[in-house]
Amino acid sequence: KVLVHPLVAFAIAESHQRRNEDQKRVIGTLTGNVVDDVVIVKDCFVVPHNETHDEVAVDMEFGRNMVEMRRRVNASECVVGWFSSSAHISEHSALIQDYYARETPTGVQPIHLSVDTGLDNDRPNMEAHVSLPMGTPGKVTGAMFCRVPCSVTCQNAERVALHHLQQPRQSGDVQHMEAACTKMHDQLTSIIRYVEGVLEGQEKGDETVGRFLLDLVNSVPRMEPHAMHTMLNGTTQDLLMMVYLATLVETPLILLHSVSSR
């Protein structure tokens, strides 16, 4: 299984747009780590290469230098495979895959990630492949690229960043909260509709969903309204005090500024 961070997808898209005029695709190295059987791809960089119909030349010295440099910043990064920015897998890919098998740490199969920047199906598709040997033993052997399930994973911070990137302009806090509240309201409405449907016998109840709902309801903390009020008031007072202190500190600064800039 392969988990890809969104940074990788963006970097590949960006480098594809910057390729030389005669190149059809861009290739580069993927870095990350391997946890149990899952390969997590965290970053990538482009490696210059030349590809003609007959042969392919990849500047591996560059690749090795870059990995060295990257390792100076973060020692836990290691090469986990390579990417190409087109969905088409050519014969040269097998050669490149072979090479990367030598670069990755022992025991790890290099992953080949292909990002469909040509938008063949009107969607950019990301696929991961591993090379498996095939053929008749003892006689002709070859390798074939086999697909591996690949999905995108995010850290919390990345989700926030992606959400902000999606907004057409910088919106304020209140709009975000409003949007989040509306979304939660919609989700609750659909859950209620589903539960009512099951109760009336129109829909078949799913046990797993039912258990999730039970956990959800039980996870709301039970507090007496009085205690809740006290807690809310206390927190509001704390926050107001902080706002007051912050304004208090800023006042002499404003005075200083107006005095010294006359």
Partner: protein
């Protein structure tokens, strides 16, 4: 100087890379110190930042700058081969515990802006704690032209500050920042959000951040201590200077009296003594730290108010649901 850049456009990729660097490679805990170099180009009056890379932070202070400079040069040479912009347009730091407006940072930014090819360098400050709260905090700063003039002179006496009318708020000027995504990146975003691979963040509804508020308060208290120390030092200097002036004028008066007394008696007046040798002129303490401290305080105050404000509004919503 060439026409100053009026705004700055940051690519989404740069944002993600900075995030990746500052939030740690292995787990989600934000790193304490991280900095890196921004690459890009200048397009008229807009500074475009198209890529960035992280620079290693070493423990030793002396070798720090050389190693980083050498690393940056090597990296820029390498990325040139892959058609990435190899012009350095600035640098970024993350401001977790330390304040971003310290002397070292100001001097580094000054060095950048002074070198001819990097006049338009900007400093991107990223605050990882705010991202945990659901808000994106990325700001671009540059030393104002007034600050550059004063730095060129080298001294930071009260007189030179008043000459240039430099106050704490006009030292660093903020450059308006714009997040940019290319069309291909937009399709990727659409794909990611439609397949549900990336859920929208739920931090907008959390009333958390008490740890962040505590950190902010603590830093603010320390900075207020620094500010009061600085003010004490300066007022002590002023008192001492006043005392010295009094002594000088007393000495002069005594001198004159003696001279008139001697003249009356018919003796030669005493030779003029070099006043400087008797009363050493005092060195004014540099005011740079005071300016920086004020800037830090102001930024903490602003941050505190924003976070507290947003928490308050969330609490109000919660209250209405009771």
């Amino acid at each position: 100087m060439a026409s100053a850049t009026t705004s700055c456009r940051v690519d989404g990729l740069v944002l993600l890379r900075i995030l990746r660097h500052c939030h740690g490679y292995t787990n989600e805990a934000p790193l304490d110190i991280c900095s890196g170099v921004l690459q890009g180009m200048i397009n008229g009056s807009v500074l475009e930042v198209t890529d960035c890379f992280a620079t290693p932070m070493e423990a030793s202070e002396e070798e720090d700058n050389d190693e980083i400079a050498e690393y940056s040069e090597q990296m820029l040479r390498l990325v040139r081969e892959v058609n990435s912009d190899h012009v350095q347009v600035g640098w970024y730091i993350s401001s977790l515990e330390r304040s971003p407006f310290s002397r070292v940072i100001m001097e580094t930014q000054y060095q950048y802006q002074r070198s001819l090819s990097h006049e338009h360098s900007i400093l991107l400050i990223y605050n990882p704690m705010e991202t945990m709260q659901g808000r994106l905090s990325l700001e671009a700063y540059r030393l104002s032209s007034k600050a550059m003039e004063v730095m060129n002179e080298g001294t930071f006496t009260e007189k030179s500050l008043q000459e240039h009318k430099l106050s704490w708020s006009s030292m660093f000027e903020q450059v308006p920042l714009d997040l940019h995504r290319s069309t291909l990146a937009n399709t990727l975003l659409l794909e990611l959000s439609s397949t549900g691979a990336v859920e929208p963040p739920h931090e907008f509804l959390t009333v958390g951040g008490s740890s962040q508020l505590e950190t902010c308060m603590r830093l603010m208290m320390d900075t207020v201590d620094d500010a009061s120390q600085d003010i004490n030092r300066y007022s002590q200097f002023l008192k001492q200077q006043q005392r010295q002036q009094q002594q000088i004028s007393q000495h002069k008066m005594r001198r004159q009296q003696e001279n008139t007394a001697r003249q009356q008696r018919g003796e030669a007046p005493l030779p003029e003594e070099d006043l400087d040798k008797l009363f050493k002129p005092m060195q004014a303490p540099p005011r740079l730290d005071g300016l920086l401290v004020s800037q830090q305080l102001s930024s903490y105050g602003k941050q505190l108010r924003e976070v507290a404000g947003s928490n308050l509004s969330k609490l109000l919503v919660l209250k209405s649901m009771q």
